[in-house]
């Protein structure tokens, strides 16, 4: 059995656990002798909260054919060219960097 490590930890903050897929959930340094049973409802709620943050990673990696953010070095180059082209003030929103970032945010929206 594979566990939802992140949701279990979020559901039970402050408890140091060792979670081993295929074996169990244990209090640390007990050599697997003290099992821990997570609260399923808390874990489900934690998973729902974590899923709301998936968009952040999706904006980094992209989804399928929808691109995510360009690499940092490319973004910096875009900013250089925007500045060099005098894209200041309201014009900054027409620059390559701002348009690119806005496109990703629009294509992969933050869940409400």
């Amino acid at each position: 059995m594979n566990y939802d490590h992140d949701a279990i930890r979020k559901a039970h903050p402050g408890i140091d656990l060792e979670i081993i897929d295929g074996k169990g959930i244990f209090l640390i340094n007990t050599e697997c002798s003290q099992t821990f049973t997570p609260d399923d409802s808390l874990v489900a709620a934690a998973r729902a909260e974590l899923d709301k943050l998936n968009y952040q990673n999706d904006r980094v990696t992209g989804i399928g054919t929808t691109s995510g953010y360009d690499p940092i070095t490319e973004q910096l180059d875009q900013l250089y060219h925007d500045i060099n082209a005098g894209k200041f003030g309201a014009d900054a929103k027409t620059g390559n960097w701002f348009v690119g970032i806005s496109s990703v945010k629009t294509n992969i929206p933050k869940p409400s």
């Binding site: 594979n2 490590h5 992140d6 930890r9 140091d16 656990l17 060792e18 979670i19 081993i20 897929d21 295929g22 074996k23 244990f26 640390i28 340094n29 050599e31 697997c32 990673n57 980094v60 990696t61 690499p71 940092i72």
Partner: protein, 174 residues
């Protein structure tokens, strides 16, 4: 042509019987996570009973992927649960005396990480069974993951892959 002999002798006259005389191997191909200060990654146990008090034990730890909530993950290899100077850094202020350490991220996101590998040579000086274990200390005692990245997103690309890890011990005699 084959050459047969009853033994090889050192220049000093003692018969040479050395080399690797036994080994043990523990595979960890599940995802493991833990938090706290120096928690024992309980899957990483490897025992061996030396045949001689002068034997050396070669310990190989291979972590396929190491990641965590914070930037740095520290590790100690311990013998029978005890810190051994031969398997940790020298004392230097209040700095953790680690055997090795890893880092979480690559290129500023949590989808990428790397493995960590260490080779240590211990001299336990006993013919009783000794067990080598891996202890973990995440930055700020935060969660450390073994065999996955922090995000552990599901997909078929290489950065989404899970890994396997192992601890191996060899007895080496003179």
């Amino acid at each position: 042509m084959a050459l047969y002999t009853n033994g090889i002798y050192k220049a000093g006259g003692n018969q040479y019987n050395g080399g690797i005389v036994q080994s043990n191997y523990t595979l960890v191909n599940s995802i493991v996570s833990g938090s706290g200060s120096y928690w024992h990654a309980s899957q990483f146990n490897c025992s061996i009973t030396p045949t001689s008090t002068s034997s050396k034990i070669l310990i190989l730890v291979s972590l396929g992927a190491v990641s965590g909530e914070s930037n740095t993950q520290g590790f100690q290899v311990r013998r029978n649960g005890s810190e051994i100077d031969a398997m940790r850094a020298n004392s230097n202020g209040s700095r953790p005396r680690l055997t090795f350490r890893g880092a979480r991220n690559w290129a500023g996101d949590s989808n990428h990480t790397e493995g960590a590998h260490i080779i240590m040579l211990d001299s336990p000086g006993t013919t009783s069974s000794v067990t080598y274990r891996l202890y973990v200390k995440g930055e700020s005692n935060s969660t450390v993951y073994i065999n996955r990245t922090q995000n552990n997103s599901n997909g078929s690309d290489a950065y989404q892959g899970n890994t396997c890890s192992s601890i191996t011990v060899f007895e080496i005699t003179d």
